[in-house]
Amino acid sequence: MPNIRVRSAGWLIGSLLIFIARCPAAAATANQVTAGAAVHAWWFWPIILFFFCLILGILAVMAGVGGGVLYVPLVSGFFPFHIDFVRGVGLMVALAGALAAGPGLLRRNLANLRLALPVALIASIFSILGAMLGLYLSALNPDIIQTCLGVTIVGIAILLLASKNTEKPVVNKQDAIGLALGLRGAYWDDGARESVEWKTHRTLLGLCMFVLVGMLAGMFGLGAGWANVPVLNLLMGAPLKVSVATSKFLLSITDTSAAWIYMNRGCVIPLIAVPSIVGLMLGSLIGVKILAVAKPKMIRYMVIAVLFFAGLKAIDKGLGLGLLG
């Protein structure tokens, strides 16, 4: 069995890395990419994109990260699409994934509406502002967005590597805002065979953090699960399972508001968007099946390494250094 685990994980990461290495866009400048894209028939890139997103969807589930956070840096770095379209589609990808996951999480009472609603309101307002700012900066000079995206992705990789989430944080006293909003609940833990009661603290600080989370999600077209979970879990004291589930549900609201801004601006090209959404959703379904026999921790480290590379590549591209091809 360990051999199967290692082989399946290695095969997936290997496929992704081989694709990246051989991707015609990977080693080319922006102009060469545009010219190269025109050489292939119109169906070439959507098919490649579909399979790329299929693998990405599998890896995202196994590594415990959202599809959007992998999609935007990797597709903007290795495909010939302008970053405006990648961000627009990235949000649609994250939105579709979050909407699909929402019902199961709500029914099991893992995603908590009382916790999600106030947070979602703040994050969605600021994701709209982030989207508008991102599109404005991109119109000025797309390299600004590319560089900022690269810095953010490297930051996310460090956060994923360093953050030690707590399964069941201890909250001794609930603060006044948390009490007024009724931010408490309980869920049934299948593993421990017990009901887990929870409540929040440091609610005001947590809500303020979602200003930043919303801005980043909207500006770069990233789903923001990587930021939601640490804020809900480490700062506000919600249990890890509730934080992960509520974060996923939150994305369906935050990403909706930013996605409308990008869609209304014309940043969603159907030829690119549909293969991406369908590929990632199918990949996620396969990923859930593979998760039972794979070794997620190793895959998580490999995905973090890929994120580091994608972030550095975005910085390199944005600054026009040409150090990474």
Binding site: A30, V33, T34, A37, A38, A41, W42, W43, W45, P80, F81, H82, D84, F85, M92, A96, L99, A100, G102, P103, L106, R107, N109, L113, R114, L117, P118, L121, S124, I125, I128, A131, M132, L135, S138, A180, L181, G185, Y187, S195, S252, I253, T256, S257, A259, W260, I261, M263, N264, R265, G266, C267, I269, P270, L271, A273, V274, I277, V278, M281
Partner: protein
Amino acid sequence: MNTQNKEDLQPSPEQIIYANLLVIGVWAGIFILVATYVIYVTGILPAHVDMSLIPKLWGKGVNEYLEMTHSPHGWGWAALLYKGDFLNYLGFAFLALMTIVCYLVLVRGYSRQKDWMYTAIAVLEIVVLSVAASGILGAGGH
């Protein structure tokens, strides 16, 4: 286990209605996306922007792309639904409108419980999402 704890373990009725609506909406949305994409790529309906032209333009910024393809922004796509490419926007819009529909259920539920704080939060979220969807903010690209 006390009564309060038992109650807390159960999802609220609004949560269940929200989940049920979402399940129907998501799969309907994905079906619309796939069906309209097949219509688009098989050429059953002619495209507004020729497919062979798109790879030459998708490396350009969105403003330049819209200008060169004479494509609309905002809700302009709704007038071009007879074109294969813009037909796909039905699926995107359907998915992006799902949250607003689900929030309407929450407003009804919370107001019945006289939970005015959460009623207000849900109403405000609907306003925010509706403003984003309306195209008032930043739809003008060129």
